[in-house]
Amino acid sequence: AQSVTQPDARVTVSEGASLQLRCKYSYSGTPYLFWYVQYPRQGLQLLLKYYSGDPVVQGVNGFEAEFSKSNSSFHLRKASVHWSDSAVYFCVSSNTNKVVFGTGTRLQVLP
C-alpha cells in the first residue's frame, strides 16, 4: 500500500539556520511527490513537486527537495529559514489512483 511518513511532528530552528524536513514514501514504483505548506488558518499551498528527471527540485521561497529512489525519500531543505517560514509542512505522494498525505511537520522558527 502507498504511504508517506514524516517522522518529525515538530521541528524548531533558529532564524537563519538551515532546515531539513524528512519524508519517506512507500510505493512500488516512482510516485509523483509534492511538498505543501499550510500557514495558520489557511489551506495548503504547493511548495514544489517532483515528477521525474533531476532529483533536486526547486520551489518557492528558497525551498528545494531531493528525491532519492534508493532511500525512498523526498526531503525538504532550505539554506536559511525566516520567521515567516513557521507553518505546517506536508509531504504528499500520488499516483494515478490515489493521493496520500503525510501527517505533517510543524516548523517553528525562533527569532
Partner: protein
C-alpha cells in the same frame, strides 16, 4: 489564478442536525476532493469526484455524503452530525487523477455540540 472557495468558513451545529459544506472552484478542474484535518492524522480523504454527477468514497466516508451537481460545485453533507465530526474540512480541486497538483480552499471549521 486557481481559486477554490468554501462556505461556510465556520459552522456550529448540534448533534443530530444536518450540515452542508459547499465548495466552488473556478479552475475548470474535473476532480474535486473533500478532506478532513485532525491533529495527528494529517488530511484524510472523505469523498471525491471525477466530474459532474459522479461521487466516489474516499478512505473515511462513513457519516458523510457528497454531491457534485456541476463542474464547479461539490458539497459535503452530514445528515446526522455527531461530535466526532468536529474538524476542519478542506475542499480541493485538481486536473489529473492523482497525478497533478491540488488546489485547496481555506477550510471550513465545523464544531458539533
Amino acid at each position: 489564478e486557481a481559486a477554490v472557495t468554501q462556505s461556510p468558513r465556520n459552522k456550529v451545529a448540534v448533534t443530530g442536525g444536518k450540515v452542508t459544506l459547499s465548495c466552488n472552484q473556478t479552475n475548470n478542474h474535473n476532480n474535486m476532493y473533500w478532506y478532513r484535518q485532525d491533529t495527528g492524522h494529517g488530511l484524510r480523504l472523505i469523498h471525491y469526484s471525477y466530474g459532474a454527477g459522479s461521487t466516489e468514497k474516499g478512505d473515511i466516508p462513513d457519516g458523510y455524503k457528497a454531491s457534485r451537481p456541476s463542474q464547479e460545485n461539490f458539497s459535503l453533507i452530514l445528515e446526522l452530525a455527531t461530535p466526532s465530526q468536529t474538524s476542519v474540512y478542506f475542499c480541493a480541486s485538481g486536473s489529473g487523477r492523482g497525478t497533478g497538483q491540488l488546489y485547496f480552499g481555506e477550510g471550513s471549521k465545523l464544531t458539533v455540540l
